[in-house]
Each structure stands twice: as C-alpha cells, then as structure tokens.
C-alpha cells in the first residue's frame, strides 16, 4: 500500500497535475462562491475540459474543484450573508453575524482553518478506510450488492427533503429509467417506443445533468440571490488572525464535527449540507454558551465548516471503494469516471491503483 502512495505522490506532483489541481481548486472556489453555480454544477462544467486530459490529471482537477467548491461556498456566506452552497447555510448564521460585528476577516480565518482541519482529517480517513472497504467489497456477490443497493435507496428515500413518500417515488423513477432500453438478459426492448435512440438505454451522464444540474438552474431561476445592501467595517486579515489557543480551546468541536462530517458524507443521500447541519446542531447542543449561537459563535462556525469539508473525504471513500455516489457532486464524478472509460468501485481499486491512490 505504501509503495502505491509513494508512486501516487510522485505522479501527483508532476507539473501538469499540480497545474490541474490549482486550476481545478480555483474554479471550484469561484463556482462555490457564486450563488448561481453550485459545486456539482461547477464539476459538470469542468468535465468537458477534462476530455483530452489523462485520467489522473482529469481527476486531480475534478476532485480539487469538488473540495474547492465546498470551501468557496462559505466565502459569500461570511462576506455577504448569501450562501454560495446549500452546505454553507449554517456558515451564514455565524459567519455573517461576525462580519456584521466588523470581524469579517476573523470569520474568514476561522472558516478557512476549520475547513482545512476537517478536510485533512477526512482525507486521512479516506486513505485508511478506502483500501479496507474495497478489499472487503471484492468479496461481495450478487446478494451483497443487492443488499447494498437496497440500503442506498432506503437511506436516500429516508432523508430526501422531508417527505419519505416523495423520496421512494424518486428512487422508483430512477430505477424505471434504468430499465429503459434493451434488456441485457433477454434482449427484449423495453420502453423504446419504436425508436432506435432509446435502444441503448438512457445514458447516466445526460440523465444526471438533466435531473440534477438543470433542476438547480430552475431553482436558481425561482429565487435569484438578493442584492446585498448592508456594510461592515472591515479589519485587516493580519489584525484578525485568530490565536492558536482559540483552536485548542475548541479542539473537541473540531474533532467531533470532522467525524460527523466524514460519516454523514459517506451516507448515500448525505453530503455536505446534512453534515454541516448535524455538526452545527451538535455544537449548539454541547456548547457551554448556547446563547451565543446565531450571534457569531466561533464554535458554531468551526463546527459547520469542519463538517462540510470533512464530508468530501467521506463521500470519496464510498465512491472509490463501493462505487456509490453519496452526493450530487460524487454522482457527477461517476459520470466523469465513465467518460474516461473507468467504472468506480472495488474492481477499479485492484485494476487501476494509480488513479485511486
């Protein structure tokens, strides 16, 4: 395993891959910060640019955009009170309250460092857990995959938008779409209505772009972000650099939120938004000063940011080891894998360790 990591490090630090990561991360931050473009949409828009790249460079760019997007979503939350990402809603509550008190730079420092802690924690979890889960999953047979699929669908149904019924109907609609085309076993045409276009079924990439990206465009069309009209007294980044003791004081919140974020991120249908709300709720519940929440509580801001960034590692662990997308963005990454002729899951782990590591 260690030799794979050493090879991966040497490959990753090739100039083209470093450039890809920088550009991907930068695009992710911009996409996440813009209220009209979510992280998943940012990844979708980036996918066509990776067609001509090698798979390793392409995934370095796309995963950087994913992580950058989650972080970037909090910039506008803190500065303007507009969540660039749904996962940054809790950041608005505490970060924007700090900004209104004139501590915008302080809020930015706190969220960036908490994000880095959460993100790095989840990467370590991913490095340790992915090979273990993938090796275990290699022993899976049809029964285990069936059980895993049912688990994924039931979790998605249970936590989708508050209505279990709508969640189940959505899952059933998804399965129905998968039945369109030529049946792989009997060769019978299903729901093709005499056209040749549907013989091969509905491809995953257009289906996901149509269902996820376009629905987000329509949601944004319904409620475009409000123009910011307030003002906050700004203090410099140097002046507002938080002391190290502030982090040691809240180490328990950071640790707990990172764990919550990683676990919530790994659940199918979970993702950064649920992770940040769970961690924020837990931080408010266990805080010695719950009255400060909603008025610029540092531990609240740390909790939500550590959790939403930690969710990326959790989502990637499940994607790489089992091939299950835990969030919209990882579903888009599956599409990117397929475009490059790869099928994420335990087999990819043994066939293309260069990409996985």
């Amino acid at each position: 395993m260690f030799e794979h990591y050493l090879t991966a490090f040497s490959t990753l630090f090739l100039p083209q891959n470093v450039l890809a990561m920088v550009l991907g991360g930068l695009w992710g931050i911009i996409a996440g910060a813009l209220p009209g473009i979510s992280t998943s949409m940012g990844v979708v828009l980036l996918i066509p640019f990776t067609y001509t790249l090698s798979p390793i460079t392409a995934f370095a760019m796309l995963v950087s955009a994913y992580c950058g997007g989650i972080t970037g979503g909090s910039i506008t939350s803190v500065l303007f009170g507009i969540p660039g990402e749904p996962s940054a809603v809790c950041t608005v509550i505490e970060g924007y309250a700090l900004a209104k008190q004139g501590h915008a730079a302080r809020a930015l420092w706190i969220f960036i460092i908490a994000s880095a802690i959460g993100g790095i924690f989840s990467v370590f979890v991913m490095m340790v857990a992915t090979p273990v889960i993938a090796n275990f999953a290699l022993r899976f047979g049809p029964a285990e995959y069936f059980a895993l699929t049912i688990l994924g669908l039931s979790v998605v149904s249970g936590i989708s938008g508050g209505s279990v019924l709508k969640g189940i109907i959505s899952c059933l609609f998804g399965i129905f779409l998968a039945t369109v085309g030529t049946d792989g076993i009997t060769g019978v045409e299903r729901f093709t209505f005499g056209t040749t276009i549907l013989l091969g079924g509905i491809e995953l990439v257009p289906a996901m772009v149509g269902l996820l990206a376009i629905s987000e465009v329509l949601l944004e069309a319904e409620e475009p972000f409000a123009e910011y009209k307030g003002s906050a007294h700004y203090r410099g980044l140097k002046e507002e650099l938080p002391k190290f003791s502030e982090y040691t004081e809240h180490w328990a919140v950071l640790a707990k939120s990172s764990v919550i974020g990683t676990i919530a991120g790994s659940l199918p249908g979970g993702g950064a938004t649920i992770a940040s709300f769970l961690a924020y709720g837990e931080a408010a519940r266990s805080s010695k000063h719950p009255e400060r929440f909603g008025k610029g509580a540092i531990d609240g801001l740390m909790a939500t940011e550590a959790a939403n960034n930690a969710s990326t590692g959790g989502s990637m662990t499940i994607l790489l080891s089992l091939g299950i997308p835990a969030s919209n963005t990882t579903a888009m990454l599956i599409a990117a894998f397929m475009i490059h002729g790869l099928q994420p899951g335990p087999l990819l782990y043994s066939q293309r360790p260069d990409i996985i590591y």
């Binding site: 039945t179 299903r190 729901f191």
Partner: protein
Amino acid sequence: MKKVEIAAKAIIVAFFFAMMLNSLKLREIRRFGEMGSGFWPILILSTAMVLSGLLLISSILKYMREKRKNAEEPLLSPEEMGNQKNRRRKVALSAIFLVIYVIVMPWIGFVLSTLLYVLAFILVLEERRKWVLISSPFLITALVIVVFSKFIVIPFPRGMGLFAAFSRFFY
C-alpha cells in the same frame, strides 16, 4: 398546496399508469424459471403508481383543509401571493424555453438557438439593463463555441438548409 401542484402530481400518476400499461406487454416474454423482462418494470411501476396515487390523495386532502382554513384567515398576503406567482411563472417559462431550445437546436443550429435562448432566459430572470441584454447572448455563445467547438472539438448541431450554412461560418 396549490392547484398546480395537484395537477403536477396527477400528471405523475398518469405517467406511471401509462408506463405500467406499456410494461404489461412485457409480462409473458420470458423463459421457464426466469423472471423475464417485465418483472422489474411491472413491480417498480405498479409500486410507483400506488405511492404517487397516495401522494395525490394526501395533496388533495391538504388542499381542501387549507382552502377551508384560508376562507377564515388567508395564509398569504396579496403581495406574498403575487411574489409566489411571479416566481412560479419564472420557473415555468425557464423550463418551457429550455424544452424549446432542445427541440429547435437540431433544426436551426447551436449558434442561433443559443443566442435566442440566452436572451429569452435573461428576460425571464427580469434583467432589463440594455447592455446586459445586448452583450450577454453574444458573449456567452461566443465563449461556448470557442471553448467547446474550437478548443475541445465537440461537434455542435449545425441545423438544416440555410441555418447549416449560417453555422458553418462559426464551426
């Protein structure tokens, strides 16, 4: 709960019902000992039909309850109702323009359809600044063509006849 939402749910029930009828034709296409091609579609669609029917019934009941309550005390002010209506109109128009865009693209080509679609979408979003209305469709279309058609060589639809000749000027 609005009438439009009830209508949308009724359409969902009708869709699953129509697909269910279609899937019944697949029922007997199987060999001995196999589930056959129709098993999963019939199971999925019948379950989806029943569940969406339940959703429709619960929505109608909710609508009737709200209607009785609203008769005594309106839930939304006229201003809020106006805003809500406006938002729904925007979503509906966005979706309609998107469908038209996808349908007409093979006929009139990518350039012309994108130009018109971007302009229509900006107008739906209530942008009224002239310089944005004039420059955005051209800039966005040019950017997409340069990046996707020239840089990563993705073949865009050129359209037919006169429109194809027009598209050939660009890619």
